[in-house]
Amino acid sequence: MAWLVVRLAISVSLLYAASAVFEDQVGKFDWRQQFIGKVRFALFDTHSQASKKLLVATDKNVFASLNSRTGDLFWRHVDKTGPEGHIDALLMYGQDAVVVVGNGRLLRSWETTVGGLKWETVLDTGSFQAAALVGVQDLVKYVAVLKKSAISLHDLSSGSQIWGENLPDSDSVQYQTIYSGENGLVFVLGIVPNSHIVIVEYKIEDGEIMNKKSVEAAWMSSLESSCAVVSSGILLCVDQITQSLYTLPLQSAEQTEMRQIHLQMLDLEVASGFRPVLTSTQPNPAQPPLSEFFLQLSPDHHILLQFKDGLIALLRDFSPVRTNACSINLFSADTGRKHLDTTIIYHMDPNGGKPNRLYVHAFLKKDDSVGYRVMVQTEDLTLTFLQQPGRVVWMREEALADVVTMEMVDLPFTGTQAELEGEFGKKADGLLPMVLKRLSSQFILLQAWLAHLWKLFYDARKPRSSVKHEVTIDILSRDEFNLQKMMLMVTASGKLFGIDSKSGTILWKQYLENIQPNSVFKLIVQRTTAHFPHPPQCTLLIKNKDTGLGSLYVFNPIFGKKSQISVPTLPRPVLQTLLLPVIDQDYAKVLLLIDDQYKVTAFPSTKNVLQQLQDTASSIFFYLVDSSQGKLSGFRLRKDLSTELIWEVVIPTEVQKIVAVKGKRANEHVHSQGRVMGDRSVLYKYLNPNLLAVITESTDTHQERSFVGIFLIDGVTGRIVHEAVQRKARGPVHFVHSENWVVYVYWNSKFRRNEFSVLELFEGAELYNSTVFSSLDRPHAPQVLQQSYIFPAPINTLEATLTEKGITSRHLLVGLPSGNILSLPKMFLDPRRPELVSEQSREENLIPYAPEMPIREEWFINYNQTVSRVRGIYTAPSGLESTCLVVAYGLDIYQTRVFPSKQFDVLKDDYDYILISSVLFGLFFATMISKRLAEVKLLNRAWR
């Protein structure tokens, strides 16, 4: 019977927690955008004229096919992160795309129309050098892969190895490139730096070495950067010092010296300090490369040259032109002449970066004229696809594949709402003007309401499809329940985005130039939209990871415009930032920046702010963490904006190192102070807003001795509130710190599984001081309850839902490597879950303890819209208490709403208004009629 009760209790509790999306709700509240990252290789499918495919391989180890008409993804393959999935080379022939992955570990062939894997071969070990398609008699049949010490030839249709040979003298010679022309030979070019070049000829059929020769080239240090093969097997090299070109026919046996051609003879000169680059093109791997080639003489000076009969002729000189718009022209390679009507003027986005790569696809039109399409990649990782005449077909913002941090900001009120709000903000100027003002604003509101009604009526008459919902920045305004917000996203490349949370439309973007690749960003909302007419204000702190030097970028989060406010310069490395609840006269919260000499800079630093800081200095505390020394220290602000050290905790680094420190979120509200127990007594929560959760990992990584340490430290007094050690555990640790609990996930190295652990802090049955919490006056240590559970999946990231007033029950959002986001009710992570069910625990709605945490498919909030490589989840409250906005970002971005306690404050979409109102009206009339009848009856009786 008890067993039955347990089961019933579990199933009932699950019934409450279960939530899923209805089929017709798909895409209604949520959207997903998929990205690929910075393009490293892009190839147009030239197989057929009508083909729309564009194959790309990126630095995020993604191999994808884009629709060149729309920019959408046909298919995408996301490989492992890091060097294991690194795409070394991408070759395409016909329907096949051959990819070398993981520093020459794997050779894969993909079918380009549907993205299916045709074959995969594991290559021999050795670091990858080059790969090339090899053709025999106008047909490409093989792919050759050059490793540091070996070369192998694979069949293009099956992937089977035809032959593999070790390279001669591979310990002294660096083999770098591979070339194959039409003559049934594969040439491998190697170099002994500053000595000579080695050329080895292999026979395609059986890999027999046909010839091997070495050519003196004492000036050369690298083949790849200074040489190219042009025309029918002519090796062409350029030397910066002697300012000359060298040529050598690869196949000829008699010529053993490179022929020198001075650049002066062509009236050319290499810019001083620049390393010239040669670029040749081989359109068909079964045929020799073109005899025309490019020589780059300075960063923006290119020369088109032609090699013919041992002579080099200049075809065209492309000199730099400096303008704000770029123009793209098509030139004939044979003659160097410009094709008519092929100019595309490409206007650079003033908020974007400079273009740094072009991928051109030229084709013959039906009338035999030349047409082309071009994909431009800019510094800010925007892909722009252009078509003649100068039309932007599509754009992709690939910077969003690497979101670092984000915030959500409320949208501003509409003009009318703002008008009404503004009335309260202004200084009172007499009774009569105030009344007039109120009347006028009420009138405006009435007007707006009528216009709105009219629009509704007008729209309702039109067929649904013709009503377009275009989102522009001008019509953006806060909706009734504040469900639509502005998402601010900061990407690793230094581009900022403002995205509408409802539709995912990019409303503004801003590229910050000169961002170091290893910068750390911190986004701070200093003023929200609530303070009309002051515009909202966000501050981005950009900090160089190496030097620690930072700079501030202040902007308006709604329009993305840079603010004119003067920003303090930060000459010293910034250690910590602190957003105070103190506001200046313009309602901007004060940001304190602490430098490495423990001096404090306030921003904004007006007189008003400094005065307020002086008044409240003794109650402003902050903490610093130095994980290299294991030191946590607390400081207090002095009146002169200097600081004093007040506490210090040192965790010896020989034993464990601090990996993460987290406080609580400032915008978090806790509705109930305690929990009602089964016996109707109250267990009060320990709600310390200054509490820090510090996670450490042991330096000893042996599976029996490794541990994860959890310290709960008060950030004001430095008091260690709780200190626990999770034995036989290892990182990476993900954790959430909220209300009175900390949930962390670790890897159990003994049992080789992921485990969840939850810590809850309670004051006990009595509150020490129920009115206000002060870290300085809380002498009793809290009771700490802890319980652990097995989680049957690895975890990428962890976050908790957040709602306006904190009434709604909390869920944990768990980002899984599969791309799903699990919404796990917090009631499963409750250290008070009893071993044995009792009357009281049932009264409290506690689920009996089970060591394994369930994963239910219906808890996946993103059903089949998986988020690849989810790295972070951001939660924000909405105006509705039941609703929490969620954004998951990684390679993709996914936005949705979650309702942890169901939509208890919202009527369902299919709510029967007509029935309810007809019943109401019916009842109303029935009462009226019966009242009338009763009156008549009374009157009649009185007459009788």
């Binding site: 409450y16 003794s618 007040i646 300085l776 002498p779 559970y789 097995i790 709605n845």
Partner: protein
Amino acid sequence: MIVNDFVCQSGDAVDTDFSGFSVPLEHSFEVDDVPRFRLRGALQLRGGRENSVYLSQNQLSEKDRSTLKDVAAVDGLYRIRVPRVSLQVDRQTERQSEGYLTTFVRACSLVESHLSDVITLHTDVSGYIIGISIVTIPGSCRGIEVEDEVDLEVFNSTISVVAPVTAPAPETAPYIERMEQEMEKKGKNPQEQKSFFAKYWMYIVPLVLFLMMSGAQDQSGGGAGGGAANGGGR
């Protein structure tokens, strides 16, 4: 003079107990709030399985008492510090005395609590002292005048050493045991042998019928009701 006193005491203590050792506990309370640490007492630490600590301290001198009251009047801080040491005796040789661990309490609360403080030393897994904390009981500052100078003479300290607790791992063994017991119980009781359906069909059938009949309305009403119940459960 106080210092001399202390040396005598601690010297005795060290002589009598070999396994323990003593470290100075220093305090500072200044009107200008610039820390100048002086000796408050000596902590006798003893490592081993149960770390124990004993604090021998001196009375506050008259000058100190008046300074403390002055500091309390300006809402200054009363700071204490201990050197970073390890409780493990065998680590004493590699004992690094670089750096201190400091903490503070408001001087007024110390005065108002008549010098009743609770000092806790926190150690890490290997026995290093990583932090110190001090609280007074009561901890509040209500502005009560402490008239009697005698109340501020002797510290009424409680001192303890806290080592990290071991966090629980998932309890699989007791859970399985419990499940087995329940299975056994079930096995013993022949009445329980009947299947769930066979026993409770008379309850289930009407329930299912009821659910089916109310299914249409339940989609809107039931969800909201369930949500509210769940929300209230907090």
